[in-house]
């Protein structure tokens, strides 16, 4: 398909489709499809076929459905939006299976509210990050942001559609997405849900109608709030409405409501009061950013939250009281007494509460502060019973520690079920990540207290001595700089010379000092050790011996280091074995864990690189190394990780690490490694050790070279 400019023939297209869609086995009819693609302009052909090929690596049915629907979509949407739609369908497939994915394909009309011309939409995937940060900067409860079918909030999460494409231009669509997010934020921030909406609306003969009218009233009130709080944003929101022709003069009655709701202390109860009157007339049409109101979804989340936050606050206050009283021995006897006082309005207009313990103002930790804010947003105040510290054992920790299991959260990767974290995986066929694909858990290697460590040290005693000496020399090396303009000691040689110069009448140098320059090593290193089944036997022994020697050497050096083993079987069981955490001392337990390293299952690598990168990123060090010790290439049982897929995912993960300033390096004993390692690590960042026996010696030598500066 390189001959740009010429249309591809139906025949050519049909052949390609037959191959990708495996018609030999699937019996799909592609002739008609090929014919309709053949009449498209060449760029559209290339675009469409490119996607069909990519999607087919995930699922052929989806690829086939995509091809049919995309032909119509191409007339109305730009390539960017169609690509997003394809990815959306594949994500749906990963998450929920074939049927929902096919539905997502057929839902193109819903995916984007179709415009009449090609539009430049913005994708949630691209702007979600910025918008979340934006929302986070605004005052109030910490909110989450997710992709959803409609624009709405449950009072903890804001849902925005996968694409916003109502405006012509991309930056206007971004502004609209931002306006939607801000408007949902305003509902949580300015108390839309403080009233019992389901009950209030159910009192009307037509609750649906009541909801519509209430939403319109709240929109008037919230617009005014945003106008006061964020005038720049409100100007932009008004401009968007004007461009969409949404600014009409309100009916008389609604003008009056608008005035009443625009005053600074209007609340949701004013909207409900006005609803009685407004219900009878017609509501103004919805504005572009207002989305939907889902009082039921809110009620559900909110009642769980109120319960949880009350318990959490009381438990946290009990801990806080204990800590504070320990610091101040002269505290009053009796139970700790917390109160809140109203401080003057803070900048965000949220009434700031000052927390006092036994009448003394205290600065609560961030977590408590956020709880107070959230409770205040729900209830308008902090009821006194929330401020009574919990008695020890009053609540089962399971009540407040285990978060409510929301399967959606699981897929968002924000929710950690039994210590699981989710990592994406790179699908090279799709040329995109599979979201939340790997379910990663950290485990401890069970320590084995045996003779392994002492045996190893005895076996390699000569090497150990040698290592100590070489590594000692590396340690915070002090270099003596001579002939410096200033320093701690006089440089006698220089001085003698200078005095001689002075006697001769020539100018005397002022570089007469010696200074010790200390180069402080500031290195953090992560060892990622292959614990896959293939290491069974002498490779495992060599790995363990190498780790012992490495630890000895690193202890002499004083570099910070961690050791994790990796293995896994399928994406659902990706496991990282803790052997030594970065801040853990090299003690008997760590030694026993090294001894306890046993081969496990397969060699899925991407998740391990990603998680260890994440851990390294949290360490502050000038130089960060990620050193992999492995016996072979990435491989996993049965779900396609074998071969190119696994290699490409690992490569991607290593690139991610590099972008964060981490230097990856690989030491392997796989003789075939020269075929794939340069592709993974770059030509210079790996070493093949040809004799397992030599691994301990080699790896310490490699480490020395790597960290020499």
């Amino acid at each position: 398909m390189a001959d740009n400019g010429f249309q591809l023939s139906a025949e050519h297209i049909e052949q390609a489709l037959e191959q990708w869609l495996e018609v030999e086995f699937t019996f799909l009819h592609v002739a008609e499809l090929a014919a309709s693609i053949a009449v498209l302009p060449r760029p559209d052909q290339d675009f469409l076929l490119g996607w069909v090929q990519r999607i087919a690596t995930t699922n052929i049915q989806i690829a086939n459905q995509f091809a049919h629907h995309a032909i119509t979509g191409l007339a109305q949407l730009d390539h960017h939006v169609i690509g997003a739609w394809a990815l959306h369908a594949m994500d749906t497939y990963d998450r929920a299976g074939l049927r929902p994915a096919i539905k997502a394909i057929k839902d193109l009309d819903n995916f984007v509210q179709l415009a009449h011309e090609r539009v430049a939409g913005v994708l949630f995937e691209e702007v979600g990050g910025i918008l979340l940060t934006f929302i986070c900067g605004l005052s109030g409860r910490r909110l989450k942001l997710k992709e959803g079918e409609t624009v709405h909030t449950d009072s903890e999460t804001l849902f925005l559609p996968a694409v916003v494409a109502r405006m012509q231009r991309a930056d206007d669509n971004f502004a609209l997405a931002k306006a939607m997010a801000a408007f949902l934020w305003a509902q949580t921030r300015f108390g839309t849900f403080r009233a019992d909406l389901p009950a209030a609306l159910a009192a009307y003969p037509e609750p649906e109608r009541a909801l519509r009218h209430f939403h319109a009233l709240e929109t008037l009130r919230l617009d005014a709030c945003i106008g006061r709080e964020l005038p720049g944003l409100f100007r932009e929101m008004t401009r968007l409405r004007a461009e969409l022709g949404e600014i009409q003069s309100l009916p008389k009655a609604w003008q009056r409501y608008s005035q009443e709701l625009a005053v600074a202390d209007a609340t949701v109860f004013d909207s409900l009061r006005l609803l009685e009157d407004a219900y009878r007339g017609e509501a103004p049409s919805p504005v572009c950013y207002q989305g939907e109101l889902r009082p039921d979804a809110v009620a559900l989340v909110m009642s769980a939250r109120k319960e949880r936050e009350k318990i959490l606050l009381r438990v946290k206050l009990a801990q806080l009281a204990q800590e504070l009283r320990k610091q101040k021995p002269e505290s009053p006897a009796g139970p700790p007494r917390f109160e809140t006082r109203r401080a003057p309005e803070d900048q965000a207009g949220l009434e700031r509460l000052e927390l006092t313990l036994d009448d003394m103002p205290i600065a609560p930790p961030e977590e408590v502060r956020q709880l107070l804010t959230s409770i205040q947003l729900d209830l308008g105040e902090i009821p006194p019973e929330y401020l009574t510290p919990a008695d020890p054992g009053e609540y089962d920790p399971g009540l407040y520690e285990a978060k409510h299991a929301d399967p959606d959260d699981v897929w968002q990767g924000t929710y950690h079920e039994e210590g699981a974290t989710f990592y994406p995986e790179w699908d090279f066929g799709r040329q995109h990540y599979r979201k939340n694909w790997c379910v990663m858990r950290e485990k401890d290697v069970p320590p084995v207290y045996d003779e392994f460590v002492s045996d190893t040290l005895r076996k390699h005693s000569g090497l150990v001595k040698h290592l100590r000496r070489t590594f000692e020399a590396l340690r915070d090396e002090n270099r003596l700089l001579k002939r410096e303009p200033s320093g701690d000691e006089v440089d006698i040689d220089a001085l003698v010379e200078a005095l001689a110069d002075a006697r001769d009448g020539s100018e005397m140098s002022d570089r007469l000092f010696m200074r010790t320059q200390r180069s402080e090593r500031n290195i953090a290193v992560m060892f990622m050790v292959d614990m896959s089944g293939s290491t069974k036997g002498w490779i495992n022994d060599a790995e363990r011996e190498s780790l012992i020697l490495l630890c000895e050497a690193l202890e002499t050096l004083g570099d910070r280091y961690a050791i994790y083993g990796f293995s896994g079987i399928t994406r659902k069981r990706c496991e990282l074995y803790r052997i030594k955490r970065i801040d853990e001392a090299y003690d008997d337990e760590v030694k026993a864990r090294i001894s306890g390293i046993r081969p496990q299952e397969y060699t899925r690598m991407g998740f391990a690189v990603r998680h260890l990168t994440h851990l390294l990123n949290e360490v502050e060090a000038r130089t960060k190394l990620l050193i992999t010790l492995s016996d072979g290439k990435p491989d996993d049982y049965h779900d396609g990780y074998r071969g190119k897929y696994g290699i490409e995912d690992t490569r991607k993960a290593l690139q991610e690490a590099q972008r964060g300033g981490i230097h990856p390096f690989c030491v392997t004993i796989d003789q075939e490694a020269r075929d794939y390692l340069p592709h993974l690590y770059g030509a210079v960042n790996y070493t093949v050790v040809d004799e397992v026996r030599k691994l301990p010696l080699k790896i310490t030598e490699i480490y020395r070279r790597l960290t020499l500066n």
Partner: protein, 270 residues
């Protein structure tokens, strides 16, 4: 104004520096000074610690010698060293020794940045011995009765490497600083830059937005210092959104997405 060369210990703060007290820090500092106790100022950068020291120096009428610590700063840089002048070696006092002799205030800013061996020389000064060991001279320098030692430290950088040791911190009277409350901060920004109250208030709002982002992509929010900078730019005719970007956002992050989000935040306010 004519530039004047002054020895550091002659540097008296002559005009009253503008300082808004945020609590009882002035009274505590004075009491500590009267009792010859060293003082530790804790708090994020740009929240008024240096200004407070200038103000206290003016109040107690002692010269102020400030040393900004960095990772190359050695004990000799503080205590002094031999130099060769005209063919002879002469001893030259470092800023700490000068302060100790002259009875000045020595303010070691960001003390944890300094090399660990510098702590060793301040320890004997910070307890009731009040002496400075001058190893090179083989002498102990006894502190002038007016001498005052103050150090600052930012507990926000949570790093094991950059934490203040217990043996050090337990010698000091600690004063906790934080960004001033909103009203006060607005007043400071307005006063320091000359912008009106309404604008200063918006800048403070913006600062709060960035402080909400601490821990979600930002290491620190905007400090009072940065607000003053932005306000000064605005007072000289720079557009508020641009001023926020140049003086604040760019100063606290390099991350493109974060900068974009901060732009959206500032443009919603103005």
């Amino acid at each position: 104004m004519q530039a004047r060369a002054l020895a550091p210990e002659e540097h008296f703060v002559e005009a009253e520096p503008y300082y808004e007290a945020t609590g009882d820090e002035i009274a505590i500092f004075e009491a500590a000074y009267r009792n010859k106790l060293p003082v530790l100022l804790k708090g994020p950068t740009g929240c008024g610690k240096t200004r407070f020291m200038e103000y206290m120096a003016w109040r107690i009428r002692r010269p102020l010698i400030t040393v900004s610590c960095h990772d190359d700063l050695t004990a000799s840089d503080l205590v002094g060293r031999f130099l060769v002048k005209g063919g002879e070696t002469v001893w030259v006092d470092g800023p700490l020794a000068r302060s100790v002799r002259a009875g000045a205030i020595c303010y070691l800013d960001e003390i944890v940045e300094a090399r660990k061996d510098t702590m060793v020389v301040i320890h004997p000064l910070a307890d009731d011995r009040r002496v400075l060991p001058m190893e090179k001279l083989g002498t102990l320098l006894e502190a002038n009765q007016d001498f005052c030692l103050a150090i600052s430290y930012n507990p926000g950088y949570q790093s094991v490497l950059k934490d203040l040791k217990q043996s050090t911190r337990q010698r000091f009277v600690a004063l906790e600083f934080d960004y001033p409350a909103a009203d006060l901060e607005r007043k400071i920004v307005a006063k320091e830059s000359g912008v009106g109250d309404a604008l200063a208030e918006k800048l403070v709002k913006f600062a709060h937005m960035t402080r909400n982002l601490k821990g979600s992509g930002l290491e620190e929010g905007a400090s009072t210092r940065l607000l003053v900078h932005a306000a000064k730019l605005i007072a000289s005719g720079v557009e508020p959104v641009s001023a926020c970007r140049s003086a604040i956002a760019q100063a606290i992050t390099d991350d493109g997405e974060m900068l974009a989000a901060m732009r959206e935040l500032s443009s919603s306010l103005f």
